[in-house]
């Protein structure tokens, strides 16, 4: 057992207090146990009570035990290295600390009692040392410290007590008090005196020491936080702090304030300072967390704190304790050896928030680039290897998170994080609750945006009812069912809390249960006793409670519209008689209900269709007639208009036509007309007949429509009048004649040109003398005839007036009316008609009185406009072409002779015979080798333009072979001493054949002689002359002595077999030219330069363009 455990400064302090006051209450801070010692305001003994402590037992005053080791322990605590921080604190305590004598008596009586129970206190408590210095974990030992734990307050008490201890009155109060018995025996004064002196001296020395100590201890007694521990919560980026303070002995709880400092990277770099206020209870271990914006893995953090009593129980002033030592939180040590780290990982944030990310590189030399969704981002370098990026107002990109990654350049290292951005949790909308049966309350709401993310808990909804205190977790995101336990609870106050990992939103609703009744949908809706005009509706509802009444709404719908609406209050079964229905009509009965007492919502609707029964048609048919004479017998055609659905009251099955002879009693003649017909024809005689027409359905006939006809057509000689049409139709008026008419009928035809003309009529009352006849069939330019009949009381129709007119007369100047003044003229030419148009013609005579009756129009369609033009142009062209073709055909031989005569074969030429006959060695047909070229020119001349002969100095090497390439062998050089003149005619047409023959003809020929001399030259002299002349004419610069000639020509005939290679610009002389001689050589023969001795004449293949000199 350590000395600290056997000796308590707290107990000693009590002893000192008692020593000073001699009347220390046993339990000064607990009135029931204080034995009459009144307490101070904060539980401390009141000063007055302490001074009047005679009532307190004195036997315990001297019952203490003291030992120096305890003092040494006390001192060692004061100077312990670990508490060195208190040094400066001590020095800050003002030396003249105020003394409150009232508190001098405030010794810990409870501790004393506790120590007494332990059997140690009375022996060991000699003084009342500063209890805060005790480190003993035993409660009784720590109790005084708790008394002083509030800091400045406890320091005051200690000071007071020490001062009290120093007071003379307190030094030996038991002895000085009169009447008190001395504890020493009276019969042995010396030893006792010595003992008393020794004791007094000892006590004085001790008190001196205590006084010295008290000077040292004149300082507050703050409760410095102890055992501070800092840990890192990487998932949430929290620095979790845990610390403790000494237990409170005299207080159940004490409000304290803790000031916390957080540094980053190094302790001097304080990044956050804040206070944390809390109520400290007995044996407290306190926790507090700090959330870091910067991921904690990227930087080392340091934490320290100090405390202060912040409780009203402790009077002012209050002092801060000393700072605790710095505690380091370093998450980098556990990261491993990867070259790159990126934090925070998998962070979940709400859309729109700010996020700080950081990377940490192991190698400072690495060049690191970071990207947010592929876009490079640049951050702030916190350290040589740590950089941070702040992302402001992050937005939701995808549910799988926003990808942020960093790469080490030139290395295949990539590290990334996924930032999960959640949608903002919305407050539930349209939150309401209702019941259908007073057993279950169903609450519904609109959850708004879904904030759930994959692999993350979705938002949840909790329903809390404040009156009952119950709470349930809702299974669905938009509804929740609440069981109504009993009828006792009428009011409900629901709070719906939407919550996700980032926060919560709530909404409340307060209501009375009876005001939220939403009845169930009625059922068993039936129609019974359905007649033509009435029907009974029955339905049932689900009962709501025992006394609830439902208000049901019964709608009668026809063709989708609500026709009738009735409200019925019922308990369980509903019934209503619908009336004023239309026969043979489909209706729909629809019922919904609501709480009759407190309307909240209509229930769902139930509906049922039904059709009322048929009834007899309610109106007579609208009947008209047309009387005409067929084969001398009057034939009456009856027309009627079908009854409307409103009046038919059912499906019309047939029409009955009853004919009654008014002149003779011949009985009734009944005709049944099918329902599909709207008229019938009756053949009558000259008698008068009364005709009844009725429509029949399954319920019966309609009222009869009566009309009387007579074989006498009556007065048809009524003058026709003109009537003008308007936009609304024809305005027809008439003058009553008899004054006994029961009505009038206006009759006309919608299509007067057609047969039948679609007879129309209009019934008018007897007091009507005008009406407007309108019809959609009326067209402008059509003449319409109107006949007005008067219906007599006998229901006989008499023609009253006739009218005729146009709805709109078309413009005469345009096209439509031409006046032909010559009565003898029987033809008329209409001009300026549009092609491919339809015209209608009508010719009517006119006199000075007016125009005659209009007959039917005749339709004419004008032909296409261009066909005439085309015929006028194309036809002559075709004729011309035909003529030309025929002419060409007939004159083909002539054309051939003129344009492309046959080219004679040189071998068959008469010249040969002439030469042979003269035996002229110079004039012969020579082979290719005989022609000695002096120059070769190769010309690419696709356009067929003329190519000039080059000079003799043109060498072969200066030319180029192109395709087609042409080789020209020019006349021999001046010094050429070869054979005589050589003329070479060639024609590519015969190129191949000539090549095969390998010969070339050399005949001097003059162009002038060619056309007129189809045959060979008759003599060599002529030939030579012709050659010379031609050559001199064509090559004027050539010296006269150069006898060698070379004629290069060709026949550029379009009839050549090689048509494709014909030049575009054929030379003129080619046409209709004649050649008497020719030669041709293949290209292969012409290519190599001929030897000088190969011959005089030169040959060359020519293209089909002209090379003519």
């Amino acid at each position: 057992m350590s000395f600290a455990q056997t000796f308590s400064f707290g107990e000693s302090r009590d002893s000192v207090s008692r020593f000073g006051t001699t009347s220390c209450p046993a339990r000064p801070h607990r009135p029931p146990r204080s034995l009459g010692c009144p307490l101070g305001p904060a539980g401390w003994p009141a000063g007055a009570a302490a001074r009047t402590g005679a009532r307190c037992p004195a036997g315990r005053v001297f019952g203490f035990h003291f030992s120096f080791p305890g003092l040494a322990h006390f001192l060692s605590h004061r100077t312990a290295p670990g508490r060195g921080v208190q040094g400066p604190h001590l020095s800050r305590v003002p030396p003249a600390f105020p003394v409150d004598p009232k508190e001098a008596n405030s010794c810990g009586s409870r501790r004393a009692k506790r120590a007494q129970r332990d059997g140690k206190l009375q022996k060991s408590s000699a003084l009342c040392p500063p209890p805060r210095l005790s480190r003993n974990s035993r409660p009784w030992a720590r109790a005084p410290q708790l008394i002083h734990s509030p800091g400045a307050g406890p320091a005051l008490h200690v000071h007071t007590r020490v001062r009290g201890g120093l007071a003379p009155a307190a030094a030996a109060p038991p002895k000085s008090r009169p009447g008190s018995r001395s504890p020493l025996p009276a019969g042995k004064p010396e030893p006792m005196a010595l003992f008393a002196v020794f004791q007094t001296s000892f006590l004085l020395a001790l008190l001196s020491l205590r006084a010295y100590q008290s000077e040292v201890l004149v300082e507050p007694l703050p409760l410095t936080p102890e055992s501070l521990n800092v840990s890192i919560d990487s998932a949430h980026q929290y620095l979790n702090l845990q610390w403790s303070v000494h237990s409170l002995a005299y207080y159940q709880e004490l409000k304290m304030l803790f000031q916390i400092q957080i540094s980053r990277m190094k302790t001097s770099n304080v990044i956050w300072v804040g206070n944390y206020s809390t109520v400290v209870k007995r044996d407290p271990v306190l926790h507090w967390s700090w959330k870091s914006e910067l991921p904690l893995e990227c930087a080392t953090h340091f934490v320290r704190m100090r405390s202060r009593v912040d409780d009203a129980k402790i009077p002012e002033p209050r002092f801060w304790s000393n700072w605790s030592s710095w505690k380091e939180a370093d998450a980098q040590k556990s990261l491993g050896r990867d070259p790159l780290f990126l934090f925070p990982k998998d962070k979940l944030v709400e859309e729109g928030s700010n996020v700080t990310i950081c990377y940490m590189s192991r190698n400072q030399q690495d060049n690191i680039s970071c990207y947010l969704e592929g876009q490079q981002i640049h951050g702030e370098q916190l350290d040589s290897n740590v950089s941070a990026f702040k992302l402001n107002k992050v937005s939701f990109i995808r549910k799988t998170g926003t990808n942020i990654f960093c790469k080490v350049d030139q290395k295949d290292v990539i590290k990334g994080i996924v930032l999960f951005v959640s949608k903002v949790l919305e407050e539930p909308k349209d939150f309401s609750c209702e019941t259908q049966d007073f057993k279950t309350l169903t609450c519904t709401w609109d959850p708004g945006t879904d904030t759930s993310l994959p692999k993350r808990s979705s938002q949840s909804y909790t329903l809390f009812e404040s009156f009952s205190g119950k709470k349930i977790l809702c299974e669905h995101k938009n509804s929740c069912n609440w069981q109504v336990d009993s009828d006792s609870q009428e009011m409900y106050n629901f709070t719906l809390v939407a919550e996700n990992a980032l926060g919560n939103r709530s909404v409340s609703v307060l209501f009375s249960l009876t005001h939220r009744v939403h009845p169930k949908t009625p059922y068993n809706l039936f129609l019974k006793n359905v007649s033509g005009t009435k029907a009974t509706v029955t339905w049932k509802v689900h009962p709501i409670g025992n006394y609830s009444t439902l208000l049901c709404q019964l709608d009668l719908l026809g063709e989708g519209n609500v026709i009738q609406q009735h409200n019925v209050s019922i308990k369980e079964n509903g019934e209503y008689l619908l009336s004023e229905l239309e026969p043979d009509t489909e209706y729909m009965a629809r019922v919904r209900c609501a709480d009759a007492n407190h309307f909240w919502k209509w229930s769902g609707s139930i509906s049922q269709k039904f059709i009322t029964a048929e009834a007899a048609p309610s109106e007579a048919l609208d009947v008209w007639r047309n009387v005409k004479s067929v084969s001398g017998r009057p034939t009456v055609t009856l027309f009627w208009k079908p009854l409307s659905k409103l009046h038919a009251n059912g499906k019309i099955l047939s029409y009955n036509v009853t004919v009654e002879n008014l002149d003779r009693l011949s009985g009734l003649e009944v005709h049944s007309v099918p329902a599909t017909a709207n008229g019938t024809e009756l053949t009558l005689d000259q008698d008068s007949y009364q005709i009844h027409v009725t429509a029949l359905n399954s319920a019966g006939p309609s009222p009869a429509s009566v009309i009387v006809v007579s074989g006498d057509p009556g007065n048809e000689e009524v003058e026709e009048e003109r009537v003008n049409g308007t936009e609304d139709g024809f305005s027809v008026s008439w003058k009553p004649q008899s004054g006994k008419a029961i009505g009038y009928v206006v009759e006309w035809c919608d299509h007067p040109q057609d047969l039948p003309c679609d007879l129309q009529w209009k019934n008018l009352s007897s007091n009507t003398t005008s009406t407007v006849i309108s019809s959609g069939a009326f067209r402008p330019g059509v003449r319409y005839n109107f006949r007005i009949y008067e219906i007599s009381t006998e229901r006989m129709a008499y023609l009253l007036e006739k009218k005729a007119g146009y709805l709109k007369e078309l413009d005469k100047s345009a096209c439509c009316q031409h006046r032909i003044d010559n009565p003898e003229q029987k033809t008329f030419v209409m001009e300026n008609l549009q092609p491919e148009s339809v015209y209608e013609f009508l010719v009517t005579p006119y006199t000075s009185a007016g125009s005659g009756p209009l007959d039917a129009f005749t339709k004419v369609t004008t032909p296409d406009e261009y066909s005439h033009i085309l015929i006028r142009i194309i036809l002559p062209m075709i004729v011309c072409v035909l003529l030309i073709m025929i002419t060409c055909y007939l004159k083909s031989q002539w054309m051939k002779e003129k344009c492309y005569p046959d080219i004679p074969d040189p071998y068959k030429s008469n010249v040969l015979s002439l030469i042979k006959s003269k035996e002229n060695p110079h004039l012969t047909i020579m082979n290719v080798s005989d022609c000695v070229p002096d120059a070769i020119e190769v010309i690419h001349k696709p356009e067929g333009s003329k190519i000039q002969f080059l000079g003799a100095s043109k060498s072969l090497t200066e030319t180029e072979f192109t395709k087609p390439a042409y080789l020209y062998l020019l006349p021999a050089e001046k010094n050429y001493s070869g054979p005589g003149p050589c003329i070479c005619f060639e024609n590519l047409t015969y190129n191949e054949a000539a090549a095969d023959s390998g010969s070339c003809g050399h005949f001097p020929v003059t162009p002038e002689a060619l056309p007129g001399q189809p045959g060979p030259l008759t003599s060599p002299e002529n030939l030579l002359k012709a050659l010379e002349k031609n050559y001199m004419n064509s090559l004027g610069e050539t010296a006269a002595g150069e006898a060698s000639l070379n004629y290069v020509s060709q026949l550029a005939s379009q009839m050549s077999g090689d048509k494709d290679s014909l030049p575009a610009n054929p030379p003129e002389p080619v046409l209709c030219s004649e050649y008497k001689m020719q030669m041709a050589i293949p290209l292969g023969l012409a290519s190599p330069p001929p030897a000088e001795n190969s011959g005089l004449s030169s040959t060359t293949p020519l293209d089909q363009s002209e090379h003519y000199r």
């Binding site: 990982k345 990207y371 592929g374 790469k407 994080i417």
Partner: protein, 236 residues
């Protein structure tokens, strides 16, 4: 007593044959060519990255510059094509089956991220069913049961569980799917060689093609198995 015993025996025999017949016809096709063609077609379908990998990359947001290049198949995650070629037919099927089993397991985890993984899972199950049928066909044709170890599949090399780091998880999933598609491509190539060698074996009785000879050298077990096929059941 004896006639009853005979009757019971016959009845049992008939019922047993009926059951076997039903099971055989209901489960697997006995036609080698059909099965092989189906396997080829399925492998072709499953190697298509548009069925799984491309949607995954898009869904996870990995279709960004700087990320795509890191979605490469992890070396050794799936057996290489050469490894597959070196296996016997049945060894190849076993490896294929085992690998796809692990792929299925992994796809199950991916289903949370990618709904179409479910469809691909069905494809894999169908493919494995055909593998099973092909194995049965080959087993039925083998006279000697040869034990051949399955080649190390993804079970040994694939990351067994996704990392807690979601970003790495995404990349691992991407690499895994790329490897899967490559693996199915390789499997399809092997099946194609099966078909080619089958058709060429008919014509190479006189002169086998050089390429086939090379393949035959690599596929010695395959030739051994092939030799063991019954003539009536498998094509030659």
């Amino acid at each position: 007593m004896r006639p009853q015993l005979v009757q019971r025996t016959l009845l049992s025999l008939v019922l047993g044959l009926l059951f076997l017949s039903t099971a055989a016809t209901g489960k697997c096709s006995g036609k080698y060519h059909e099965l092989l063609q189906q396997l080829q077609s399925q492998a072709d379908l499953m190697q298509d990255t548009s069925t799984l990998l491309d949607p995954y990359i898009h869904f996870q947001g990995l279709d960004q510059a700087g990320l795509k290049e890191h979605c490469k198949e992890s070396p050794g995650a799936f057996p290489s094509e050469d490894t597959l070629r070196g296996l016997s037919q049945r060894g190849f099927l076993r490896t294929l089956n085992a690998t796809l089993g692990h792929v299925l397991h992994r796809l199950t985890a991916l289903q949370q991220d990618l709904t179409i993984a479910q469809d691909q899972g069905r494809n894999i199950r169908g493919f494995r069913s055909n593998i099973h049928c092909m194995s049965q066909l080959l087993r039925g044709s083998s006279e000697v049961e040869t034990a051949e170890p399955t080649q190390p599949g993804p079970e040994a090399t694939l990351p067994p569980t996704p990392s807690s780091d979601t970003f790495q998880h995404k990349l691992q999933g991407c690499r895994f799917l790329r490897g899967y598609h490559r693996f199915m491509h390789s499997a399809g190539q092997v099946f194609k060689e099966w078909a080619d060698s089958r058709s060429q074996s008919r014509s190479r009785r006189h002169r086998p093609p050089r390429a086939l000879q090379r393949g035959a050298r690599r596929m010695r077990p395959f030739r051994r198995d092939e030799r063991l096929m019954p003539r009536g059941q498998l094509p030659r």
